[in-house]
């Protein structure tokens, strides 16, 4: 066997969106504010996934303004409607749809006043990027002017929205039930190089194809995939929290090894859109699903490269070397038996 051996592996996956086997729900408030800006109030804040930007994009699109004109608050159980947890790949789906619905209500209030003012049907009004016009006419104004006019007519354009995802509990005997209303699927291919002298595995390329429903922010989705893949890589090859009789022995980053910039493969993300038919936005999610197929794709690639199957994570250099040695011993024994 040559020293450096390469191979490829694939793994597929699936995942459910939002909380499991229960009715998930969330709410949001919106107000078209002075200057053609907007306030959106939800109970969440950023945990790094980009939700604030996604919500600003959704609000901007629904209200006809720009994302930077949207102010998002309040992340506070005493000041904002229920949002529940920042997890379960539910933020875009649950809060995103709640914000969209809240914005639609606020916009309807505004449009009713402008339509009355212009004496046109509210259905002809279109707002985008801070401009409002009535289709089929040359009537137009900025959203800042529209909010001002609306308020002078005595109406503050506010809205509230809530969204539910109807999962059902599982039957305690046979587990039957409909735990989620939206599912996503993914497939990843990994290309690895195995050093048969040191047992070290490097992941050189990774192709990640994920259905995320309608994409709100492509770069944001890629960022989630890249982060998920590298966490999956860490679990596949190096990370290992250990205890001895309950005493943690990997209690710092010197002992608990994490992937660094040098471990990262080139990652190619392919975003597949199968929009969700049950929600206003059609978006689903990506936070968790991105990680699921990475480790098995890498382990299958190691098998492709050197013919050994790692059944216990992580595939550390020691484990890979031991598996190669065992395979060679088996092959030698088989040769001997044949002679």
């Amino acid at each position: 066997m040559q020293r450096k051996m390469r191979g490829r592996g694939v793994a597929a996956s699936w995942y459910g969106i939002a909380r499991t086997a229960t009715v998930d729900r969330a709410g949001a408030w919106a107000e078209l504010d002075d200057g053609g800006t907007a306030k959106v109030v939800t109970g969440v804040t950023e945990i790094g996934e980009g939700i604030l930007t996604v919500l600003a994009q959704i609000a901007a699109e629904e209200l006809g303004i720009r994302p930077e004109d949207v102010t998002i608050g309040d992340n506070d159980t005493a000041r904002s409607p229920e949002a529940a947890h920042a997890g379960a790949t539910r933020q875009t789906y649950m809060i995103g749809n709640s914000v969209a619905l809240a914005c639609r209500e606020a916009k309807a209030r505004l449009f009713a006043e402008i339509a009355a003012h212009w004496e046109v049907d509210a259905g002809t009004l279109v707002a985008f990027d801070g401009e409002l016009r009535a289709e089929g006419t040359n009537l137009a104004m900025t959203m800042a002017e529209a909010v001002d006019l609306c308020k002078r007519r005595g109406v503050v354009p506010v809205g509230a929205g809530h969204f539910a995802a109807h999962g059902t509990g599982l039957n305690p005997e046979d587990g039957s039930g409909a735990p989620w209303q939206a599912y996503v699927f993914g497939t990843q291919v990994a290309e690895v190089e195995v050093d048969t002298v040191t047992g070290e595995v490097q992941v050189l390329g990774l192709w990640a194809a994920h259905d995320v429903g309608r994409v709100i922010n492509p770069r944001g989705v890629e960022g989630q995939i890249e982060g998920g893949v590298v966490q999956g890589l860490g679990q596949a090859l190096m990370e290992d929290y250990q205890t001895a009789n309950g005493h943690p022995v990997t209690h710092g980053f010197a002992k608990y090894i994490l992937p660094t910039a040098l471990d990262v493969p080139e990652i190619t993300s392919i975003l597949v859109e199968d929009p969700d038919p049950l929600s206003p936005l059609g978006a689903k999610g990506i936070g968790e699903p991105a990680l699921v197929p990475t480790a098995p794709a890498i382990i299958n690639a190691i098998h492709d490269a050197v013919g050994v199957r790692i059944r216990s994570l992580p595939a550390t250099p020691e484990k890979v070397l031991a598996a190669i040695a065992e395979k060679q011993a088996r092959a030698a024994a088989a040769r001997e038996a044949a002679e």
């Binding site: 086997a21 790094g48 159980t77 005493h247 699921v292």
Partner: protein, 625 residues
């Protein structure tokens, strides 16, 4: 404490402070000068979040005593650009979407600044190598590297500054690469995480943690600790006025150990004092008498008859068992041409978010107990705390501070209760910031799993039956175990339509560090086993791995493992997309690597040999491709 006058230039301004010379430069910058853009991710020189320039040289300020910086010229992330402005690197981070939770980002920006100052023409490999000492848990580094390369190109004139401008919008903001709105606050270090926040009159908390995995608490004597000057209060489980217990599913965990400890690192008591050093000193004066109990450290042992019982309510040590049944597995295995049996295991994994747990609690003028923390579930935490402190729900308020990485690890209310109790007892704001070691030993991990797998297939690769049995170590407390077992069971057999299956997932109590929610919630452990089995089966049957997956995949109209009818299933589309993008060469997975023609093409990087980037790639002829 001894004090001396420290003089330095910080971000171009002369600074003079009387301060403890033994403190770290990191503390001096953060606590004395309020320059909280410099973060503490580990306190041990291992993560890079605390990087600053000292006389032009990049140093880790957690390793440098403040006194050693006497007279030096210090530059922190706050000093890179004028207020309200971004420098080229910061703009590049903004443009590429390089910041996610943002906690590593000031350190990354500092490391990249150093790199561009010292090696403005750095190659991609050199960028990766020089950034290799900075840990990021969120981004997978890809967009950070892209940002540094972009800034390099602008600085060296290879690219026009226009590449840093936002992309123009077309007809919709949906599907558009809007730059992250929170990025400027993160690349400049301006964003305040909970551990960066201060309030007038604020106390600091330190927590006494169990040195034993399983022990009865015979007595706790806090009197000596309470007498230490500067200590405002000491709290134990005796201070809980309401129903003590929290957890995502079962409320089996007390705010602090009650009667016994169940894992090493469990909170036993806490001190709130004028400063952290005093609080820590007082911890040493709390007297706890333990009587050690036999411990459980392996999930299989937990199920044996006569095993020690960890929680009285669960005499069998089972946190949760989830069964799923569909069709008739005996019939399915009888129809199989090939039956495969195998076992798989996955390890316990640390979330390693760069922001250690931190929080700040106070009681406001209307008697509302308020907790600011990077909680991933303020709605549920509010419910639980209201019962624990026996106050109506509108007298409990949770504010979610920016989360410096969560991944599920900040769903458990492991410290907010202590903060609330101390704030109530002292009527002063109280802040707690975990050390990295505390964060690692006290927070939940990804469930380690063992899976026994049996799969029956026909000659042409159709799965006829699956038996899937998973045992997980839930550790000392229930946390998210129930939900993790449920999700693992539902997703277990993968995106395939299986007519006959029998799935059981079980989590048990042990005296190990608790397992809890971690990105995928059991989904990855289960599907690791299934996806390994799919390739093992493909090899035995001589089928291409994509092909065997297609022969079994779910479609619109399929019945899932829990017998839910799917209206659509995009698995066919993602399989095809991955196959095409990777230019996959079809064939059975029989150690085909040495023969493959699809290796080393677009979408791959060169293998790296540390420090060898200037050599000609002499091992290139060794390459298989």
């Amino acid at each position: 404490m001894p004090e001396m006058t420290l003089d330095m230039r910080v971000n171009g301004r002369k600074v003079t402070r009387r301060a403890d010379p033994g403190q770290r430069l990191l503390d001096f910058l953060r606590d004395e000068l309020n320059l909280t853009g410099t973060k503490e991710g580990c306190g041990a020189g291992e993560c890079g979040t605390c990087s600053v320039f000292v006389d032009g040289k990049l140093v880790k300020s957690c390793l440098m005593p403040a006194a050693k910086a006497q007279g030096a010229d210090i530059q922190t992330v706050e000093g890179l650009a004028r207020p309200g402005e971004l420098d080229v690197l910061q703009k590049a981070f903004h443009k590429t979407g390089a910041s996610q939770c943002g906690y590593c980002i000031p350190g990354m920006v500092m490391a990249a600044t150093s790199l561009l100052r010292e090696a403005p023409e750095a190659s991609l490999d050199e960028i990766k190598e020089r950034m290799g000492g900075n840990i990021c848990r969120c981004t997978g580094y890809t967009k950070i590297i892209e940002a540094v390369a972009l800034a390099r190109d602008v600085v060296t004139g290879r690219a026009s500054p226009a590449v840093l401008e936002p992309e123009g919008v077309g007809e919709s903001y949906i599907g558009h690469n809007v730059r992250r709105l929170d990025a400027p606050s993160k690349v400049t270090g301006r964003l305040k995480y909970a551990g960066d926040m201060v309030m007038p009159g604020m106390l600091h908390m330190a927590v006494l943690r169990s040195p034993h995995a399983h022990a009865e608490i015979v007595s706790i004597d806090t009197s000596e600790a309470e007498a230490v000057e500067g200590v405002a209060c000491v709290i134990t489980s005796a201070d809980v006025p309401g129903k003590d217990g929290f957890g995502v599913f079962v409320h089996d965990q007390p705010v602090m150990a009650r009667g016994k400890v169940r894992h090493v690192g469990e909170a036993v008591a806490a001190v709130a004092a004028e400063d952290v050093a005093t609080a820590r000193r007082a911890l040493a004066k709390i007297r706890v008498e333990y009587r050690e109990l036999p411990g459980l450290f392996d999930p299989e042992d937990a199920l044996r008859p006569g095993a020690p019982v960890i929680h009285d309510y669960a005499p069998d040590n089972v946190v949760k068992h989830i069964p799923i049944r569909k069709g008739d597995v005996d019939k399915g295995f009888a129809e199989a041409d090939l039956i495969l049996e195998d076992e798989f295991s996955t390890q316990q994994v640390e979330h390693a978010y760069l922001e250690p747990e931190a929080g700040l609690a106070y009681v406001d003028a209307d008697d509302v107990v308020t907790v600011i923390s990077p909680s991933q579930n303020i709605t549920h935490h509010r419910h639980m705390l209201s019962e624990i402190i026996a106050r109506p729900i509108n007298k409990v308020r949770f504010i979610m501070s920016p989360v410096g990485g969560g991944f599920g690890g900040k769903e458990d209310m492991i410290y907010q209760g202590m903060l609330a109790l101390a704030a109530m007892k002292t009527d002063r704001p109280v802040r707690l910031v975990f050390t990295r070691e505390e964060s690692i030993i006290a927070s939940a991990k990804r469930h380690p799993s063992r899976v026994k797998y049996r799969m029956g297939l026909t000659k042409d690769g159709r799965i006829t039956a699956i038996r899937f049995e998973m045992l997980s170590d839930g550790g000392a407390y229930g946390m998210s175990s129930e939900g993790v077992m449920r999700k693992a069971a539902i997703l277990s057999c993968g995106p395939y339509e299986i007519e006959n299956l029998q799935v059981d997932t079980t989590a048990v109590y042990t005296n190990n560090t608790p397992s809890g929610a971690f990105r995928t919630f059991g989904g990855m452990q289960a599907q690791f086993a299934t996806e390994s089995m799919m390739d093992i089966a493909a090899e035995r049957l001589g089928l291409d791995p994509f092909e065997i997956r297609r022969r079994n995949m779910m479609r619109a109209g399929s019945l899932t493992h829990t017998q839910q009818r799917l209206t659509s299933a995009s698995i066919d589309r993602v399989l095809e997309a991955a196959e095409q993008a990777s230019r996959w060469e079809p064939g059975a997975p029989t150690m085909r690597g040495p023969m493959r023609g699809d290796l080393g093409g677009p979408g791959t990087r060169a293998p790296c040999t540390l420090g060898a980037r200037f050599e000609t790639p002499k091992d290139s002829k060794e390459r298989v491709a």
